[in-house]
């Protein structure tokens, strides 16, 4: 199929960006979206045009490195997939596709479609862990049985890949879904409960300092999340936060 791509080009963080238009021919429906971008880049280099910079690594939907806002949606029109797992069979011949970076104050553009998501790392560094050293003397893994339902819920929250689609999709650029996923994972497990109060306070504080917006319960984050992280996590984090605030 033949497509028209409208792509955000921005030389660096300081430069002003613009949308450029590129035609691309003979796209196979079996290609992934990023493979289509590879073909475009090979084509651009042949014409002496700087290739489009975009983040990507594992290309199997788990590392969370690929981003892209495609036709107004984080990771494009398919549900429960990242851009690397989006296939061209979701488009049709003659389509015009608009490709932009994930936009948020806390995610400044580095170049073209590449953004800086290190704010997520800093939120995790503020409390996204259980304080246990490596010793080789930790108690046996089966010494604390954990209700399967809680373990499964903790796992579901823990599958967040930190891609930032929730932030990019939110009209307020809120990171509540991301932060609440980590808070929930630990809040649901006995190992995480000991530090629950400090964790939620510190992570929320860092989240606010990074410039993420507030949550107004619109739910766009849940719809666009490639891993289907549930809004329930936000409710749980709000409870945890309230409890922590009262506890002081």
């Amino acid at each position: 199929m033949n497509l028209t791509l409208k792509v955000w080009r921005q030389a660096n963080a300081e430069a002003k960006g613009i949308m450029e238009t590129y035609p691309i021919a003979d796209v196979s429906p079996d290609m992934s979206f990023l493979e289509m971008m590879d073909v475009l880049n090979e084509q651009l280099m042949g014409q002496g045009v700087d290739p489009i910079a975009f983040d990507h690594d594992c290309r199997e939907g788990i590392c969370g490195m690929c981003s892209m806002f495609i036709n107004g949606e984080a990771h494009g029109p398919d549900r429960l997939v990242t851009t690397c797992q989006l296939h061209m069979r979701k488009f049709k011949d003659g389509d015009t596709i608009t490709i932009e970076p994930f936009r948020a104050q806390a995610f400044p553009v580095i170049k073209d479609l590449t953004v800086d998501r290190s704010a997520f790392d800093r939120v995790q560094q503020a409390g996204g862990f259980v304080s246990v050293n490596t010793s080789g003397n930790t108690q046996d893994a089966n010494s604390i049985p954990i209700d399967k339902h809680d373990a499964d819920k903790a796992f579901d929250a823990a599958t967040c890949i930190g891609c930032g689609a929730c932030v990019a999709s939110c009209k307020n650029a809120s990171a509540m879904l991301f932060v609440s996923a980590k808070v929930s994972q630990y809040a649901l497990l006995p190992q995480g409960k000991v530090e629950a109060t400090d964790r939620v306070m510190n992570m929320v504080k860092q989240m606010d300092e990074e410039g993420f917006g507030n949550c107004t319960n619109t739910g766009a984050c849940e719809v666009e999340c490639p891993k289907g992280i549930s809004l329930e996590n936000i409710a749980r984090m709000n409870r945890e936060y309230l409890y922590a605030s009262l506890k002081g």
């Binding site: 030389a11 196979s28 079996d30 290609m31 992934s32 990023l34 493979e35 590879d38 280099m45 290739p51 910079a53 983040d55 990507h56 690594d57 594992c58 290309r59 199997e60 939907g61 788990i62 590392c63 969370g64 490195m65 398919d78 429960l80 797992q85 296939h87 069979r89 580095i110 170049k111 590449t114 998501r117 290190s118 790392d121 560094q125 862990f129 259980v130 304080s131 246990v132 050293n133 490596t134 080789g136 930790t138 108690q139 893994a141 089966n142 049985p145 954990i146 209700d147 399967k148 373990a151 499964d152 903790a154 796992f155 823990a158 599958t159 930190g162 994972q185 630990y186 190992q191 995480g192």
Partner: protein
Amino acid sequence: MALESKIPKGPLSDKWTNHKSKINLVSPANKRAIDVIVVGTGLAGASASATLAELGYNVKTFCFQDSPRRAHSIAAQGGINAAKNYQGDGDSTYRLFYDTIKGGDYRSREANVHRLAEVSTNIIDQCVAQGVPFARDYGGLLDNRSFGGVLVSRTFYAKGQTGQQLLLGAYSAMNRQIGRGKIKMYNRHEMMDLVVVDGKARGIITRNLVDGKIERHGAHAVVIASGGYGNVFFLSTNAMGSNVSAGWKIHKKGAHFANPCYTQIHPTCIPVSGDHQSKLTLMSESLRNDGRIWVPKNIEDVKAIREGKLKPTEIAEENRDYYLERRYPAFGNLVPRDVASRAAKERCDAGYGVNKTGEAVYLDFAAAIVRYGSEQAHVKGLDENDAALVKKLGQEVVRAKYGNLFQMYEKIVDQDPYETPMMIYPAVHYTMGGVWVDYNLMTSIPGCYAIGEANFSDHGANRLGASALMQGLADGYFVLPYTIGDYLADDIRTGKIDTSNPEFEKAEAAVKAQLESFVNTKGKNTVDYYHRKLGKIMWDKCGMSRNTKGLKEAIADIKALREDFYKNVNVPGTTSEFNEQLAKAGRVADFLELGELFAKDALERTESCGGHFREESQTPEGEALRNDKEFTFVSAWEYKGEPSKAKLHKEKLDYEEIEVKTRSYK
């Protein structure tokens, strides 16, 4: 330089305990004055960084991705082995050790493997304490499943995302130390070279991938945890950025490179769909717990399938060839990866491949769906003879176990694996070879260590499933943090490493010169053009089966391709900006050297063992034929200016505890 493996004396099962009690330690106060660099943040790098920081060292950690959490360990699916024997099925440290040695076709170092089996149980305890949500049963205890090449269930898992959960655990441990200021994290930084001062590793040169700035970093020890080199094949299950460069740079500075030809071709990957293909996707080995592998018995059926006239579900049971169950009745679908891959190739080469390219076999879950469905119907007191109900219930069980893998398959192939068998074919997945290390995980450069997939030590000529995660975390959490102290104990009076030293200057100048030369070549071919060509040579001549003629051709072809690369590569842009093509050019340049050494190593080893299959060395039934008399050694290559001139050192492998036998899964 002589190879000294430094394996401690004494009985095998006491070696590690005794060694740990006797090696030198660094006092807490002195640790604060010692800097350690870690390159890479996969399971090995992240766990080592966190543990070294917990111990009190100042750690500087580097990754090329935008966050340490992206490292490719994240993509590991199936699980992690540990000799916990929670299932009471006869597992033990010895059995895990034995299975790993046998699985590696008697080409790994006995003492290292025993240590790995010993610490395996600690890993599970540690991860659970960190809040890693492993799968549990209804009693709240940890669940297990089985993997290839073993007869027990010792694999711990978190659905098909075990690597992700373990890596996020190690990442969280790192985050805690970053927060405390004990780890300084450098994202989007690429290691460009190792700096050796007076024979010791004293730092690295890096490039900031955002602005292109070249930086010097000094340290008392450098740990390479940069993963494997499967991307030398261009198409592999590795991430796009996975590369050999850190390992190759230290090789060029004096670290021996061991067994480069030992590559794991994983049997169950999604087949190639076209020329645009940029990478291959694995379907976890855990699927072979429940999936049965087959091709049609009759060649007419194969033809009809390829023409779209027949569906696999329409082929009667008696007309299917479950070739693994046929050839290997004892292990069946759970034979080790090298065996399963070769068997798939054998059937496809014979013309029985079931897709258009003729390079695919079926992985079928229909039987498992019925088995689980009947069980569920029985448990729930429902009608076990209601086929539709049984199917529905069975699909639910399969979804709970492998849901994310099935979804991934459906998105890529556009077929529903709950209704029709998956199509799969072998693909490059893991490299057992890597930087040579001694028992302490130190390379042949004093002060330079290699851990995880980047080293060669534990898997011999073939790795068993769910053992990579185990090794990465064993090295990073439980081995390196202790053994490194033995070396650093002599460094407590050294003081800060001075990066204005001439050796740093020289290394930096060489790095800058190479980068400049890439952007100034202004040739006609893109970097990917060369990478694809290299991949094709590797796959055709150094892939699942190898022979003298092909390997000799590969050596010549790769050398010619490398020369052409330096003359005609086109790297757009400048060195002082975010330039993905420039980063890729450096990585491909190193692959173009490694590939040649790979072929040379494969040529020298005229036996077949594990993943290395030489056509000249096979049994009449087509099984791999080892030559223990001549080849029970590790090939450690010393760099001598060009890959083809590399000098071979042999580390003889002694087996004290285990009787070396023909590996049989029949």
